[in-house]
Symmetry: C2
Subunit: 97 residues, 2 copies
Amino acid sequence: MFRHVVLFTWAEESTGEQRARVAEELGKLPAAIPEIRAYTLGADAGVSPGNHQFAIVADFDGVDEFVTYRDHPLHQAVIAEHIKPIMDTRAAVQFEV
Amino acid sequence: MFRHVVLFTWAEESTGEQRARVAEELGKLPAAIPEIRAYTLGADAGVSPGNHQFAIVADFDGVDEFVTYRDHPLHQAVIAEHIKPIMDTRAAVQFEV
């Protein structure tokens, strides 16, 4: 399995509505991109101080399937229209499981 | 399920041996901390530019079990002895799945 993890912090001036919209739009991708084997996402639970604010963990059969997802037009549209406008910082890792 | 994600970058002067030791020591935790339901970790695969260098994704039944892991002496020992000495930056999120 090939696991993709990405964490975001949001711009201070972004709204709860904008942040919720990111989760909503990303949540549509598994139905549209069959290469996605598992897809979990969510806002930070607020249990530990100093955390980032939002996480995605996505699983694929291998690196090729991950790249298909990464570069997919529907994914890139969510990034351009909903994530980039409110993103402050991004941290990501992909690793073999 | 309660999912914990943490990403690290390592200090430039850290060695491959030190970085490998982090994975080795963390890999012992699931056998010692029964609250851990699933535990995956790995170095970044080098597929996407600008990534962090190491990831852990750990799953728990709930927030209480995560806190038990977070504060567990064996976990804290790995952080103090192997992670902190070579850590540059850290990004984390916990979220309900």
